[in-house]
Amino acid sequence: MLAPPPIISVSNLSKTYGSGFKALKGINLDIKRGEIFALLGPNGAGKTTLISIICGIANLSEGRVTVGGHDINSDYRAARSLIGLVPQELHTDSFETVWATVSFSRGLFGKPKNPAHIEKVLKDLSLWDKKDSKIITLSGGMKRRVMIAKALSHEPQILFLDEPTAGVDVELRKGMWDVVRGLQASGVTIILTTHYIQEAEEMADRIGVINKGEIILVEDKAGLMQKLGKKQLTLHLQQKIEAIPPALAPYKLQLSSDGRLLTYDYDTKGERTGITSLLTDLRNAGIHISDLDTTQSSLEDIFVSLVRAP
């Protein structure tokens, strides 16, 4: 069976700024319809540039981007109609009311008035009681939600969230993710960038890592964790030992300084983890264990190791 066509297709995309700085170098990326895709990368990696080009805010230098099958240059109206964008910086008008600014966005995208929809969006984002307030009177977290409301005002099929939870407190952040999950359930494709890697780990279906203008990796989150995830087995000993018996050398165990903990690194993608034989060999060596636990490296560890790699 053929895979359904991607909702966004980026091929061979490059961006060189007037200063000669190459912000993107031959990016290829497909976004699947209905997924939550997290784009991770250090500051200056090209995340925002990539989003800006797809959304029409910056010109591309080379390559091609299609959104819903529409070329973003030759068929920009159809392409942009599908997209709602929440940029990273808090760019809002100051003297407009929440209601007016969200209604303005809907008109700008060519959609007929629909007060019921705007009411729903504002209520979902807990902004309903602020609808007649001027934006300048709102807190940072509220302004962020106003920007999300603007992006959702024209019922987009794709939502870009560039660092959506920067400067938003924990409770609001959770509320925001509930909204995002609700949107995904209604069929909206979501592309987000975030600095909170736990968030990507929790929210995303797939993860892309970008560094120095290049996509280093795109992977299902589970696959990524499995592919790169190292697991660590910690053994709590009943009696402390002075040294690791020579018979156990092949396992490259590490002994804690108090002699009561043994740690063993293993790879989950290996066919044999070696745990069973390790436990057998331990018993043969006369070492008894009282407890054991395993830990898996987080996405953050994976991310740091990827970006640091030369």
């Binding site: 966005s105 008109g107 700008l108």
Partner: protein, 253 residues
């Protein structure tokens, strides 16, 4: 055409006008009234007449043009510069709108505002001096053409400017001198012939001359030439705007 987008931008800009009513409408009316008091009543009383009309009456078209020109540029340049400055331009650029729609929205609103202003100033002038308009339709044509042309020009300045200083520079250093030297307060025929030739290089002369003709049927240059020069300047501005959006100059890079 995305008419809803044009409407949204236009109404947004007009809402800004009503919010800043004092600054947008009242202050130009006050300053124009001052011109009438100083030039019309005080100095004008010592000048018998210019080309057959009293001096106070003579300066009305020039004063209206002065305000329409400067306000068109100020409104339109600020209207597009401000979203660039605070960053809300992202939304316009990411919306399914063509550059023609963006220009119609912003320039249309700026021109509307300065046309309203021009009419208010004329009404104010009528309180000070007897006003008779020989060719009301031509008067409106020149008014609308000038408002649209200079709003376009202001739009270009707003895109070009990357700081508030630049935003003020062109209006202060080029437009204001050109309007004062363009025959707002005198007939070009009153100048010595050398200066007269130099003055004819000033595009504003043609605007004011044509506009004044529609009031009193007196003109420094022929009406056809006035109309032609105005349309020519409009065409230049349109080409510049087209180039700006085609290349994404100062907007998309």
């Amino acid at each position: 055409m995305n008419y809803r987008a044009i409407r949204a931008i236009y109404l947004f800009e007009m809402a800004r006008t009503w919010r800043t009513l004092l600054q947008s409408i009242v202050s130009p009316v006050v300053s124009t009234s001052l011109y009438f008091v100083v030039f019309g009543a005080a100095i004008g009383s010592r000048i018998t007449e210019v080309e057959g009309v009293s001096y106070g009456t003579f300066i009305v078209p020039g004063l209206v043009m002065l305000s329409v020109l400067t306000q068109s540029i100020a409104n339109a340049s600020f209207g597009i510069y401000f979203p660039k400055f605070v960053g809300t331009i992202y939304e316009i650029l990411s919306a399914p709108v063509s550059y023609i729609e963006i220009v119609i929205g912003y320039v249309g609103a700026a021109a509307t505002k300065s046309i309203i202003l021009g009419l208010i100033i004329m009404a104010t002038a009528a309180l000070f001096v007897p006003l008779h308009i020989h060719h009301p339709w031509w008067m409106l044509t020149f008014l609308v053409l000038t408002a649209v042309t200079f709003s376009l020009f202001g739009f270009i300045i707003g895109i070009w400017a990357d700081g508030f200083e630049k935003l003020q520079m062109i209006p202060m250093l080029i437009v204001t001198p050109l309007t004062f030297l363009g025959g707002s307060f005198y007939s070009v025929n009153m100048l010595p012939s050398g200066w007269r030739t130099i003055t004819l290089l000033n595009p504003v002369v043609y605007l004011i001359s044509g506009f004044r003709w529609s009031f009193y049927e007196i003109a420094d240059v022929s009406v056809a030439l006035s109309l032609g020069m105005t349309l020519g300047f409009l065409a230049i501005c349109m080409v510049l705007v087209w180039w700006i959006f085609r290349t994404g100059y100062r907007l998309k890079n």
